[in-house]
């Protein structure tokens, strides 16, 4: 009996230690990134977040000591442009995605015939699994020309009196803030829609019946009774989608136009997001013999991680019990 008890503990111990690998790896990731970025944090200080000039400095001359650190002459690392690009593109994506996701969820839950509902809801779920780089390819080949030739001139014709919506103030290539926001919107709409759809399906029948008994039309039942019931879940889904949009890399990199050191003047202006910038700049940052550029990229990764961590934590507190992994 005693021997058996000991064996049981060994089995549990093994499982526990396997499970602990997950939190440990998360902690290792944060610690290593932080340690690697430490010098950059010291060198850049708070200016890192507040200035828009990202310059590697003169890599052909000997490094000099600036603010106590060895860096190339004229090196300056400011990521405000990328923070703005990240926030603008994600907020634009939310602006597009929210109404579409709400409409889609209502359509799937209330309007779609029972027989085709599984197929239609699977279609929406499949949008979420298309690899980011495939979205990017579609963005380059279909979306950017569409914006350049039709959507852009259309928006300019209607809203052109506002400089922010006038394509003539930009290169007009179609690559830029609008393209990035649209692709991101497409990627996060299914996240919001499926979260909301699941919640709508769980609204108690009594509530609907009471509303119908009071003479509400079916659409009024949805908008006035069901939507208020699931609003918390909706907010959680939105924040979850925001978290995904903030960290998205490939698709954004491929359609954003890759701006450096300026803030977007119009919705058509090329931008860079933090995630896309880390990926696109590592090659050139490696040219820096002092490594300060690479370390500053690590600092961006750290900032991005902290932002997404905060956003996801908020989402999780709102949708208690919900997970990224859908219940399959």
């Amino acid at each position: 009996m005693k021997r058996q008890a000991k064996r049981l503990n060994l089995f549990r111990l093994t499982l526990t230690s396997i499970a602990i690998v997950i939190p440990v790896s998360l902690i290792i990731i944060v610690v290593f990134l932080g340690q690697y970025a430490w010098q950059a944090i010291g060198f850049n200080g708070i200016r890192f977040l507040g200035t828009i000039d990202w310059s590697l400095g003169n890599l052909y001359m000997n490094p000099v000591v600036t603010r106590g650190y060895q860096v190339p002459i004229g090196a300056d690392y400011g990521i405000l442009a990328f923070i703005v690009g990240t926030l603008f593109s994600s907020l634009l994506a939310l602006l597009f995605a929210l109404p579409v996701a709400v409409g889609t969820a209502i359509f799937l839950s209330e309007a779609a015939p029972d027989r085709v509902r599984p197929v239609l809801s699977m279609l929406v779920e499949l949008v979420a699994v298309v690899p980011s780089v495939v979205f990017g390819l579609w963005g380059i080949y279909v979306l950017a020309p569409l914006i350049s030739h039709y959507i852009g001139p259309g928006i300019t014709a209607v809203l052109g009196f506002i400089p922010f919506f006038n394509m003539n103030n930009s290169t007009g290539s179609g690559f830029g803030l609008l393209a990035a926001g649209t692709v991101l919107a497409l990627m996060i709409t299914p996240i919001i829609a499926t979260t909301l759809y699941d919640a709508l399906r769980q609204v108690p029948l009594d509530l609907r019946e009471s509303a119908v008994a009071l003479g509400a039309t079916r659409f009024e039942v949805v908008t006035k009774i069901m939507m208020p019931t699931v609003r918390i879940t909706l907010i959680g889904g939105v924040v979850l989608g925001l978290g995904r949009a903030l960290g998205e890399t490939m698709a954004v990199l491929m359609v954003s136009g890759g701006a450096l050191n300026y803030l977007p003047k119009t919705i058509f202006t090329p931008i860079s997001t933090m995630a896309a910038f880390i990926l696109s700049q590592l090659d050139s940052a490696l040219q820096d013999p002092t490594n300060m550029a690479v370390k500053s990229l690590a600092e961006i990764a750290l900032v991005l991680f902290v932002i997404t961590l905060g956003v996801n934590a908020v989402a999780r507190m709102i949708v208690r019990g919900a997970t990224f992994v859908r219940n399959i």
Binding site: Q4, R7, L8, F11, R12, T14, L15, T16, I18, A19, V21, I22, P23, S25, L26, I29, F32, L33, Y36, P99, V100, G103, T104, M122, L123, E125, L126, V127, V129, V130, P131, V133, V134, G136, L137, W138, I140, V142, T189, F219, E220, T223, G243, R244, L246, G247, T249, M250, A275, I278, L279, L282, L304, F305, L309, N312, A313, F324, V325, I328
Partner: protein, 288 residues
């Protein structure tokens, strides 16, 4: 629940307004659905047409040479990286899922659950950068299959753990009790009863993890690197090609052959990812 109500009396203005606005509302919802479905269908169609026209025997038998040639090396590389990631991810992910389901109803369990969800939400490029610092540079592995596979595994493990947990939790408690009553040990119950009963869910998780690995790009660029040549079996100090890299870089080359390869690679990746996702939904999900 019928949508219309038979009202014999003449409609008042207010009623008409309500009925009209409801109709408009339903129309907008349908439109919203189309706004999601049409881009997906367009994406699938565009890539299928452009990709299939680039298909040929040599696409699968030769490796790329600059921006021409085939995709053999990339196909093999994607298989090596994604299957390799499962080698690390399956034992850890399934083991962690078993822990969370069987013994995780405590403080440690909820901490692991929270941090695992946090890891899922971590941008993949941040993870890639971490692997670059630690494995590629720190351990001196250079761009390599091992660094790429481990990076993918770190992405897949939290998914797998949570899916495993969910599917094992659905195994009825009575089955566990019956097994214990027969004198089975904890280990036997966990593997032969709970894991066996929850196997379809776990397999779903593994397949979805595979789909994630096949479609990933960002974390591989600075861990696996890129190579035109067929993988030679070396785990470290040897870059390896993969399909998603072809999509990303070849579409930006000003050559027709490069674009054709990019679309062919995109079609292959999309087929695998969609086939896995549709497959597990159709086969394994009992839709109620």
């Amino acid at each position: 629940m019928s949508a219309t109500f038979d009202v014999k009396a003449r409609r008042s203005a207010l009623e008409t307004k309500r009925i009209v606005s409801s109709a408009v509302g339903w129309g907008l919802c349908g439109l919203a659905f189309l706004l999601v479905a049409v881009p997906l269908l367009d994406l699938v169609l565009t890539i299928t047409i452009k990709g299939a026209s680039a298909f040929s025997i040599s696409l699968f038998t030769t490796s790329s040479n600059g921006v021409t040639g085939g995709l053999l090396a990339a196909i093999v590389g994607t298989a090596v990286l994604s299957l390799g990631s499962l080698v690390f991810a399956v034992p850890i992910g399934v083991g962690a899922g078993m822990y969370l389901s069987e013994y995780g109803q405590n403080r440690l369990g909820s901490v692991i659950r929270f941090l695992s969800d946090t890891l899922t939400g971590m941008p993949s490029i941040v993870l890639g950068y971490f692997s670059y610092i630690t494995m590629v540079i720190g351990l001196g592995w250079q761009f390599s299959a091992l660094a790429g596979a481990i990076t993918l595994a770190i992405m897949v493990v939290p998914y797998l753990a949570r899916i495993t947990e969910l599917s094992l939790q659905r195994v009825p408690v009575q089955m566990r009790e019956a097994a214990y009553a027969l004198g089975a040990q904890e280990r036997t119950v966990a593997f032969k009863v709970v894991l066996a009963a929850g196997a379809p869910g776990v397999i779903t998780g593994v397949l979805l993890g595979l789909a994630i690995s096949v479609g990933e790009t960002a974390p591989l660029i600075y861990t696996a690197g890129w190579s035109n040549y067929l993988w030679n079996g070396k785990l470290t100090n040897q870059p390896i090609g993969y399909l998603t890299y072809v999509i990303w870089t070849f579409i930006n080359q000003p050559y027709k052959s490069a674009h054709a390869l990019a679309f062919a690679a995109a079609l292959l990746v999309m087929l695998v990812v969609l086939a896995i996702n549709i497959g597990v939904r159709v086969v394994l999900r009992p839709r109620t």
